[in-house]
Symmetry: C5
Subunit: 325 residues, 5 copies
């Protein structure tokens, strides 16, 4: 059936066999086994089949179908429904792509539903099967493994943001500031808010998983969810720091634009003076008065020219010294 | 009676019959039925009639009459009084219009009172009647259906805001910035605050409905109110993100105005120099000294003209390279 | 005695008789009666008399004498002490005036002490006497009536602020921006903070009155205090929105000042070019070279003048198109 | 012994006698007496003596010796250790000076340790001895009297800040803005943060003293600590309002600098045009063309001069009207 | 074994003997002894050895190996795992260097794992051994001693930041503002956020250690952890004040840049007028009209020159007075 990526039964931490969706009821009759199903953008019919098989709640199935949910943890009579946002770096354009994963976790099953950009969870499955003493703890551990995998993807995203911020700082403080810098800061802020929206509700989700006495999460699994909690808090903190730095960068940018404008203004003023004074003097000696004795002097012209040069030179040195040029 | 949009009795999830306001007491004698009344900007007398019929609290009736309440949930001996703000997009001017709906919910009745801009709730009624297994749960489910309908109207409003923000970003970063951009940012912020005021108190309302043990809300209806809670939290979050982006947009706008001013200043300075230097030179040769040998040279004029052109050309190239022109 | 505005005994929701301050002890011997005293800026002696009569706490009396308290609710063995800030619009200068009212509420008495700008509470008294079924509930209801009256005064104050903000917006976006706008924004913010200080502590006061099981507040009075709570929260919310809009207005103002500066700079640059180029050309033909063939041409002068006009015209059109002029 | 300002034994609210530090153990044998010791920047040895006498905790003694603590309230087996920051206005330079007072309060003793700028507590002692019915309540009341005295010093400090802010507002809106204004705003903010740091932790301290059932604070003293709590909250609120106003003042300042810059720019442009146009015209008639008929006209010169004056006059009036000059 | 800095057994507050890692199991058989091991960037194998010896939790060992954890306190069946960030001033470049220390504390052992920049804990060990009555309290006291040592390193870091802020203030208000100032403010903010990240989670850690009834922390050690709590809160508060001051400094900087720009603009305008007016006059007398009577006057030239000088002088004085020059 299209949309089913993998479907297998597990017992004692080991994969027992691949199961077809129709044969799940057989598996569920064997009390020591549980099923782990991976779905990719499933059709509504497929979801209805799954719903009937495990008697999942209507609203959770609707959520899983429509996607666009906030990250959250909900409990429907003994079953957990977890929504997570996945983050991936598109290597070509160096931008983030977001996706959504919905997890249904019951006493005897784990179902993952992927939407949008996200890597396959086959490597999570492989890793779980490799640590069978942990996998033997049941669906609660699979939930941990999937969440851990998803949360670990946030770190390279934050790293990407940090390197982009560094590039922006370099532009602001060492290269010329153009219009681009402002736009880059704005874009980075916009994407950070997107990431923040994926991460911050997870703090509460992880916190509830590491504390509450949900029957599905054995007590010795709490430290594992506390580990996820720590990671999420750390990512969230890094995002907050990046936001605060971006705000400061925008302000620093504005300051430096003003500093540069100031410098341009001073240069303009300096050169205007250096050009303006000789022009004024030349204008004086261009007057047509009959009686202007200097005009008849033999050395009048060279004297005036030297005078002009001297004044301009003096102004140039003075402006240079006071930092205006 | 004017102001009554619809009034019907329901039993077992099915509409039993239309009821006139005067005959409600009959309905209330049949314990398995409940009444659902829809009022539109009712007169005070009409409200007093309704109050007497269901013995509603004075203060709630006053609120429902005067409108201009904050969204809230109040409990008066077993009856719930819910105030919601409705949002509608006026398609012609692409602006939001706000209204208010007040709901009285008791064991045997639901009364909705609409004020200002809001669509009729006939389609909610139709949808409820179409899912009679849910409607059979009684007034609590009708409350859910009405709230769900109202909250769903917030999403297109947020979408409208997002597309308006995108238009503003386009203006800021790619078109020229004029006075309009600033005004548009300000107006958008003002309207966002209006929407925020409609949405954020709902978080608390939905939270209380999904948790508390109000007799009117059966336990198996809690997931439905949790769904509303999720939607409200999501809208609220999107509004907050929009506000933060608007603040950044205003700052980015200010930065880019400064960048452009800087560029204009540099251009002014550049052209002033290119024009100023030849003017100065021309002034020099316009002096009336008797002894200015260049004036008598055969090629003096073309030489000076070439010199001027050379200097201006040099300045032009230099300014061009350093990005001043 | 100076400072006593009114003093009457009530029983069963009806005014029994006017009482002189000295005769209060008689009233207090009749268990079904309570006294309602209104004081206006009382002298310390008067307050001491009242204190002795009702055995009020020293600290509360000191507060009531010195005024300048924050809005608060305190409980001294069974008696309540409430401090409220009153707000009034001075119609002549359209500015707010603030006052303070202190209320002592006991099982058998209500005492109001007014300081500073505040309207008389005679109309509250009249309104209470008109609804004797409510007044029969005793001092708790009088407390409600006084608080309701005071809180209702905040709404016109907020309306005044809103209309002043609108005037400022009009100035910013449609009239020229002068120094005044900035000062008006600052003044409005300052007054808003003053109003905020009067309103926000009331949220807590009203909340405690509508919830806690104070012996003085009968349970069926809780909805009335919840009504006050709603009003206070609404005023507080409106004040917060006004503050946020003022902050945005200040920023928008700054942006538009920069936009206008930019426009002035571009105009300056444009006209400088339009004047500068002909000046340069005229300078060239003012040079005194012997051999300048154009000078001898018959049509040299008109040709140069036309050339100047053409260049200036070209520059004018170009600047006009690019929006610099 | 150096460092001991006063040391007396009290019983029944009356001073029994002066005690030397060595004789304290005698006093402590009489169960109805308590000791009140005032220390000023005591040496470590002195503190060790006191510690041994009353068996105080090591860490509290270290704190009291080194000072530089945050305001706090700590409990060491039945004894209270309170740290308070004192504020004083240096009348000469109109600036604040900060100090620290550490209080040890036990069942039978009160010890105050002063560091840095602070007035002597002799007048507190005098005031306590004057109200012996309160002093009879024991060390808890002395604690109140000292805290009340210290908190009352904060009000003149806030008043000083308010008058400095008013001076700054006057500068911003009515006098010219110079570099000083910005520096004054910054300095005021810095000092406000200092005051805030002294005041805000006290809210928690006062709150705990007015609520908790510390054996040392008799229940009937709670209203007194609630009074201190009110004062601290009020000071804290005033400091917050001052901070917010200072932030607005800085922004208003920046706006007005820009407005003034705009005005200067417009003036510059206006005068440049008024001077530039006649210069251009004069340049035209300074050209040396052979055939310039105007040059030979009898009234050419006066006509051109009038034309120049007319244009300049026209420009002047136009700029004046549009507010550029 | 490489990576082991020190490893000793303690009993009754005294060092019993150095222990090789392999002999630890012997020590653990003697119930009155505990081991204190110091590790420096240990290899994974070493950590595995330690893990087996004390049966530590997998996740804690992974954390200790990979480092890059947030400061935190975790409890794994009776054992505590504490992560702390260390701060050191690199004296040469006057910059902060950060490191991480992980502590495992059990009933019978303390293990410290150092990563990155941090001083050795040999002096802590020495100090502990010097106060054997405290060391006799066991591993809980060693935890205190290590935390106290680490937290004390934060104070010089904050002092360094304060002196750097003072240097920046000096630059802003008294020296010329250049591009560097902005970059320095930004860098300082960035580093402050780094320090904040090390300090603020410690508040919660210290709070839990001083309150909760962890079996490892004897009740009489609580005041010691409260001392650490006070220090951490104080550092955190100082960091927050520094951040707020930096924000104000950035704004003050921007204001002063604008003030300076304003001054430059006014100077430019002033000198432009002083040079422009004589140029205009000279242009007038450079016109070639036949009939310009002034040109033929004997004193025409000196009169015009005096007039120019007078006008320029008048302008100079006027601009000087109004503060433009």
């Amino acid at each position: 059936m299209g949309g089913v990526v993998a479907c297998a039964a597990y017992a004692d931490g080991r994969r027992v066999r691949e199961v077809a969706l129709e044969d799940i009821s057989e598996v569920l009759q064997q009390p020591e086994q549980f099923v782990w199903i991976g779905l990719l953008e499933p059709s509504e019919e497929l979801l209805r089949v799954v719903q009937r098989e495990f008697s999942l709640h209507d609203l959770a199935i609707e959520d899983a179908h429509r996607a666009h949910q906030r990250p959250k943890l909900e409990q429907y009579d003994g079953a957990l429904f977890v929504v997570l946002h996945t983050v991936q770096i598109n290597a070509q354009v160096q931008q983030l792509e977001f996706g959504e994963t919905h997890l249904f976790v019951g006493q005897r099953y784990v179902i993952s539903v992927r939407h949008g950009a996200s890597t396959s969870y086959t490597q999570v499955r492989a890793r779980c099967e490799a640590t069978s003493h942990l996998l033997a703890k049941g669906p609660g551990f699979v939930l941990y493994a999937l969440m851990d995998f998803i949360v670990d993807q946030y770190f390279p995203a934050v790293d990407l943001f940090e390197s982009r911020l560094e590039a922006i700082e370099e532009q602001i403080f060492h290269e010329g500031v153009g219009r681009d810098t402002t736009e880059q800061i704005y874009d980075l802020k916009r994407e950070l808010l997107h990431l923040k929206r994926a991460v911050s509700p997870l703090i509460d989700v992880a916190n509830r998983l590491m504390r509450s006495d949900l029957a599905l999460i054995p007590v010795d699994a709490h430290p594992y969810f506390r580990d996820i909690y720590d990671h999420v808090v750390r990512v969230n903190e890094m995002v907050d720091i990046l936001r605060e730095l971006l705000t400061s960068a925008l302000e620093a940018n504005l300051s430096l634009i003003s500093v540069r404008q100031n410098e341009a203004m001073k240069r303009l003023a300096g050169w205007a003076a250096i050009i303006g004074v000789p022009t004024m003097i030349a204008g004086v000696y261009g007057m047509n008065f009959k009686f202007m004795p200097e005009l008849d002097w033999r050395w009048g012209y060279p004297a005036v020219m030297s005078g002009m040069a001297a004044i301009s030179g003096y102004l140039y040195i003075r402006f240079k010294r006071s930092g205006w040029l």
